[in-house]
């Protein structure tokens, strides 16, 4: 039997990870720039907006953890590697090699294995 509650709460957690990945890319963009002083490294629109996204993502995780076990949470967060790789390619021009693509597929398989029982409820 499929655990519908678990699916909903897992999707909430995955959504949080997705928006966090957007923030990661924004931080990398920000880190690549030159700043006049230490303060400007942190207090610039890109970094501030990225942390606003992280802040929102905490609520996704917090809500998801009402149902999702802590032992599964960080495994689901591994989907971030996939988003960062894809967005890194699109926005930062980072290449995805064959080996890296294979790794991303392996991550998906690992997540599927780890969440199988929680999802199917057997």
């Amino acid at each position: 039997m499929i655990n519908k509650d678990m699916i909903v709460f897992m999707i909430i957690m995955l959504t949080g990870t997705f928006i966090s990945s957007i923030a990661q890319i924004m931080l990398k963009k920000a880190a690549q720039r030159e700043y006049p002083n230490k303060l400007a490294e942190y207090l610039n629109p890109l970094v501030i907006f990225a942390y606003a996204i992280f802040f929102s993502a905490t609520f996704c995780a917090l809500y998801a953890y009402k149902v999702v076990p802590l032992s599964l949470g960080p495994i689901l967060e591994a989907t971030g590697y996939i988003w960062v790789a894809i967005m890194g390619k699109i926005f930062l021009g980072e290449r995805i090699s064959k080996r890296k693509s294979l790794g991303l597929v392996v991550i998906i398989i690992g997540i599927a294995i780890a969440s199988s029982r929680a999802l199917l409820g057997f």
Binding site: Y51, L70, I75, I107
Partner: protein, 133 residues
């Protein structure tokens, strides 16, 4: 690998360990009513850790490439299993351990796949050249 890189990898893992407490605090807060005293306490820890991570991560990214930094975060899956078992007495099933191991292996492929492109360069910048397989 340069001594400098090993130093930053060690610092990174220390930061990740501290940050993994975030999961415990999130899970604790999730068990209380929204805006109750306990919820505020645990959510406060979550935000404090996010603040700590904010400053630490920005410094890490200056010394290590994003994908390397992000890949090493895979150990949070192990911390999740450890804290889930120790703090929340979750039953760790075999498929969850195998799944975590597969995820970490996938992350290893992602990291080494990255080296395939950048070669042995210590540079932060992605190389324009593509190595031959």
């Amino acid at each position: 690998m340069k001594k400098e890189n090993i130093k930053w990898l060690f610092i990174l893992h220390l930061i990740i360990l501290i940050y993994s407490i975030n999961g415990i605090s999130s899970k604790m807060a999730a068990s209380y009513d929204f805006l109750s005293k306990e919820w505020i306490f645990f959510y406060g820890i979550v935000i404090a850790l996010l603040g700590f991570y904010a400053i630490a991560w920005q410094q890490i990214l200056k010394h290590l490439p994003l994908i390397t930094s992000y890949a090493n975060k895979a150990v949070t899956t192990i911390w999740g299993l450890v804290w889930g078992t120790l703090v929340f007495h979750e039953t760790i099933t075999i498929e969850r351990v195998i799944g975590a191991a597969v995820v970490i292996f996938g992350v290893y492929l992602v990291v080494t796949g990255d080296e395939e492109i950048t070669g042995k360069s210590d540079s932060d910048e992605p190389s324009k050249e593509v190595s031959n397989d």
